[in-house]
């Protein structure tokens, strides 16, 4: 029956493109929702877009800044749950559709369409790593668009000229993806006709020369940050080979497609088998890689973090009650919610804990842990530590974390450092989703009791130590005692103190 359909049901390429896009979008949305509903909300916490001329121009003028700017522009919308999933699914679907179009033009068939999902699925999974920049996806889309344009040009020399120009523009605007573009175009053209394809050696030469320039000029630190996808990962960390997979699979995909053109299957049964094999292969590929790229614990942490940022303590408690709670980061957030609810002392013994580390983890200095600790100490009323960790977290992530900027503005206001608070507020006023908060903060800073932030400002200001000391120098429990002397009504502090005493009985 399937063969009959294929014989008799001639789908237009455009119709198939639309179907491909729609199916990819739907499946992508469902998949990302199921495996990591709050992943993109969490990404948004670490970068936002500033509506500022100089910020935009400085990004545009930097290596790969165009893709980063678009990435930031899109990321700002991820503050709204589901939007990140939808936008990402749109972009991924566009990449798949453009890849499919290229494959169609290379092979004059739709037989290899399912294989477009190999590189794109890995790219999607990489987006669940908070250190993978969203600009990787944006850059891949630009690459796909450039490649689509390339294969649509029939004139030999025009195609070569356009390819060189595209490589240059990709290099400047999207960075490292230009290397992929140069490789794919070169491979495709050489496999098509090696005599004519030789002229495309110009592409890697141009990209290489430009890369050499940016390294020599000191714009980029290392060769791999210029030419390889490592440049789309947190630069001070080692990316690992997983970042190369989307690019490697893309090169392989189009190389195979170019070769396939010579051996296009005519037999319908062979075609069906080929398509089925690809579908099974993609399914197995994704199923095999999901556990490698997506950790249930990490996704749970992102969910808890999202709930904590909205002070949804009841939701945290009800979510955690049905979880094993063996992850110490989950315990930190869960215990914070219990403390805010006034139930930490009574409930903590009912759940897995490893002592005070379950209240406030120590040792790790990565920005994600630091940000969580800022929340925990803020809940305790220890403003000095909360401010310290917020500063370090924000600094470690390039000073663009809206969540940490909010905490820094609030902490500065608590300490009555108005000029400093106004500096952070001014930054948040340049965003779209935080300018209302910034306005509320400015009003609270100026003493407007009607501001929604006036109460939290007053409550936390009351927690400031009456006498100065070095934070934690006599033990955190001692610090909390001092807070309770001046703010006995700050119940979260007493909850934490009693729980610490529970874990470490005083002699």
């Amino acid at each position: 029956m399937l063969i009959a359909c294929m014989k008799h049901c001639v789908l237009q390429h455009k119709t198939l493109s639309v179907i491909t896009w729609a199916v990819t979008f739907t499946v992508g949305c469902l998949f990302m929702y199921l495996v990591g509903e709050y992943n993109f909300c969490y990404l948004e916490q670490w970068g936002t877009f500033f509506y500022d001329y100089h910020y935009v121009m400085s990004e545009l003028c930097s290596y790969g800044g165009g893709a980063r700017l678009v990435g930031s522009l899109l990321t700002q919308f991820f503050v709204v749950p589901w939007v990140g999933i939808a936008i990402t699914a749109v972009l991924l679907s566009c990449v798949v559709t453009l890849f499919a179009d290229v494959l169609y033009r290379l092979t004059k068939s739709e037989h290899l369409l399912p294989s477009t999902l190999f590189p794109v699925s890995i790219l999607m999974l990489l987006l669940f790593n908070v250190n993978c920049q969203y600009s990787y996806l944006v850059s891949m889309l630009l690459f796909a668009a450039a490649l689509t344009l390339h294969v649509r040009i029939s004139g030999e020399w025009l195609r070569c000229v356009v390819a060189v120009v595209s490589a240059i523009l990709l290099f400047m605007a999207a960075g490292q993806i230009a290397t992929l573009y140069a490789c794919v175009v070169l491979v495709v053209e050489l496999l098509r006709d090696w005599r004519k394809g030789v002229r495309y050696l110009l592409l890697p030469a141009v990209v290489g020369a430009m890369g050499l320039y940016v390294v020599r000029a000191g714009w980029v630190g290392t060769w791999k940050h210029v030419f390889l996808p490592d440049g789309y990962f947190t630069l001070r960390l080692s990316a690992g080979t997983s970042m190369y997979l989307p690019c490697g699979l893309t090169v392989a995909l189009f190389a195979v497609a170019t070769l396939y053109r010579r051996f296009v299957a005519r037999n319908a049964k062979v075609v069906v088998a080929l398509v089925a094999l690809q579908c099974v292969g993609v399914t197995a590929f994704v199923a095999t890689n999901v556990p490698k790229y997506i950790s249930a614990d990490n996704e749970a942490f992102k969910r808890l973090n999202h709930l904590a940022s909205h002070e949804a303590w009841d939701d945290i408690v009800s979510y955690c009650k049905h979880k094993p709670m063996t992850n110490v980061l989950h315990q930190n957030i869960f215990n914070m919610a219990l403390a805010e609810k006034g139930a930490l002392v009574t409930e903590v013994v009912k759940y897995p804990n490893i002592g005070v580390q379950s209240l406030f983890i120590s040792g790790d200095k990565n920005p994600y842990i630091l940000a969580m600790l800022s929340d925990v100490y803020f809940a305790m009323g220890h403003i000095a530590f909360s401010q310290l960790y917020a500063f370090e977290a924000n600094e470690s992530s390039g000073n663009v974390s809206p969540r940490m900027l909010k905490r820094l503005a609030l902490a500065s206001a608590i300490y009555d450092n108005k000029p400093l608070a106004r500096k952070y507020i001014a930054l948040l006023e340049k965003t779209h989703f935080y300018r209302t908060w910034a306005d509320d903060m400015r009003r609270a800073l100026d003493g407007d009791t009607a501001s929604p932030l006036a109460e939290v400002l007053a409550t936390k200001r009351a927690c400031l130590f009456p006498d100065n000391r070095f934070s934690g120098s006599k033990g955190l429990d001692n610090d909390l005692e001092e807070i309770l002397k001046v703010a006995p009504e700050h119940h979260a502090t007493s909850q934490y103190l009693e729980t610490i005493r529970l874990f470490i009985p005083t002699k």
Binding site: H54, A217, H225, L235, A384, E392, E395, P419, R469, S471
Partner: protein, 489 residues
């Protein structure tokens, strides 16, 4: 054809020279509030144009600034409450002028207001063309991107000397120049590619300066004027965080000593007067003639318990560069025990007449002390006075002299108490300071948006020509030369 061309040129000139048609409807007898505050400052005639704005709260849309000198008058228009004079017009204006009289007109809701004029004073003692500094967040234990940069003071151009994206995102610090010479400098890298890098006329040498005797890396460099020596401090530094103190953190030395590095012999020498277990010695600084080494010293006390009792005196010891020896006695210029305050960053003027230093209530990491202020000592008479014109309610610290001794740059947190900004001030021949001005920037709101502090500002007489790539290549590929301890001299 020629007539058309001439007409086109005239039209273009007219268009370009069109300024706002200002019809003043209100006169205000006070001077305008502007940011940065450039009212009454003294500037060199080769500085980049001073750009400034009216506060956003004033609601000013368009601005016009009329600048008059004794021989010229220029009008500059601005929008969005901000004015940025053009560089060419600015140069013309400052040429041969002593005073710039600035009248500001501001448009709000369609009405123009004229403010009382203010003056900017011009000195023809040129400022060194470049200022070098590190840009780093005023953070604590972690860092992200940082770099050492050089800024042309005659324009707004800022170039990298080295950024840590080229060196594995490690830390870099303590850049220092011999007699303001950009071709003779050193700096440190920490963590990846750690070491001290000495750059002399393009030749880059990587040193491992840790010895068993000194234990810690060399910091706070001071070049000997002949280039054969560099004085350093070796410090065991820790930091702790206040809960409520006006000063956010406390950075303190648990031990410190002063040493002198012999550049040619790759050897560290010192004196028992500089390397005592009973005291903390730090912040060395050579006099311009190279025969005196100034430094700060404090009694060593149990740390961190007695951190408020650590108060540094300003002392000096004679140094013989030929014999590589130190005198056996130390002179005290400022006695912390009797005066009750603590000295840091002694800096002698190039003519050797004066010494500027930072004074705080205690301790040595004065950038974290809001009470820290700048003081001047007359080396001839021994008189010490506060530089009230330069000081503010917040911290003033790290300072350095220009090569002609007429200008100083110093670090201040007066704007918001956390992010350090560089201020430049003129010092008269009799040592009188004039009102300082903030390093000018072209971009409106530059300092408000910047999330980094200007650290260790130093003047240089030219541009550092060694490229970031060359520096990073040596860092990555060259082996360090081990420095040895040459003993007490």
């Amino acid at each position: 054809m020629k007539r058309c061309t001439a007409l086109s040129l005239i039209v273009m000139l007219l268009v370009c020279s069109c300024t706002y048609n200002v019809e003043v409807s209100k006169h205000i007898s006070r001077q305008p509030d502007i940011t940065p505050d450039y009212k009454g400052v003294t500037i060199p005639d080769n500085i980049a144009p001073l750009c400034f704005a009216m506060p956003d709260s004033c609601g000013v849309a368009r601005m016009q600034v009329v600048c008059k000198t004794s021989h010229a008058e220029m009008t500059f228009d601005g929008s969005d409450g901000y004015v940025a004079p053009s560089e060419s017009k600015w140069r013309t204006l400052l040429e041969n002028a002593d005073t710039l009289r600035v009248t500001l007109f501001a448009e709000k809701e369609g009405e123009w207001t004229e403010y009382a004029p203010f003056e900017i004073y011009i000195k023809h003692d040129k400022i060194d063309p470049y200022l070098t500094y590190r840009l780093i967040e005023p953070g604590y234990e972690t860092w992200n991107e940082m770099g050492i940069y050089q800024r042309c003071l005659e324009s707004y151009e800022q170039d990298d000397i080295l950024t840590n994206k080229l060196t594995g995102y490690g830390c870099m610090n303590c850049h220092s120049f011999r007699k303001h010479n950009p071709d003779s400098m050193l700096f440190h890298l920490r963590v990846d590619y750690g070491g001290t890098y000495v750059v002399t006329n393009g030749n880059i040498e990587k040193l491992n300066t840790k010895t068993p005797q000194t234990q810690y890396a060399l910091v706070y460099p001071s070049w000997h004027p002949n280039g054969d020596f560099v004085a350093f401090s070796v410090n065991n530094t820790k930091q702790m965080f206040h809960t409520t103190d006006i000063n956010r953190i406390e950075v303190m030395d648990f031990a410190s000593n002063v040493v002198v590095y012999d550049v040619g012999r790759h050897e560290i020498i010192t004196s028992p007067k500089l390397f005592s277990p009973r005291s903390f010695e730090t912040f060395p600084w050579f006099s311009p003639d190279g025969r005196t080494l100034y430094f700060c010293t404090s009694d060593s006390v149990p740390m961190p318990a007695d951190y408020r009792d650590v108060k540094y005196s300003l002392c000096s010891i004679a140094f013989d560069p030929v014999g590589r020896t130190f005198a056996d006695h130390v002179d005290t210029l400022y006695n912390a025990r009797t005066n009750g305050k603590s000295v840091s960053f002694p800096r002698v003027s190039p003519d050797g007449k004066r010494l500027m230093f930072t004074l705080s209530d205690y301790g040595n990491f004065s950038i974290w002390h809001k009470e820290a202020d700048l003081y001047m000592a007359e080396l001839g008479s021994g008189d010490i006075r506060p530089l009230t014109m330069l000081n503010s309610d917040d911290v003033e610290s790290y300072h350095s002299w220009s090569s002609n001794g007429r200008w100083v740059v110093f670090s201040s947190r007066r704007d918001n108490g956390l992010y350090t900004q560089p201020y430049i001030a003129y010092i008269d021949t009799d040592g009188t300071p004039h009102k300082p001005f903030l390093l000018p920037q072209k971009e409106k709101g530059y300092y408000e948006s910047l999330m980094k502090s200007f650290n260790i500002p130093e003047f240089t007489t030219g541009k550092v020509r060694t490229t970031p790539y060359e520096l990073s290549s040596v860092a990555k590929r060259e082996r360090s030369v081990d420095v040895s301890f040459g003993g007490f001299r």
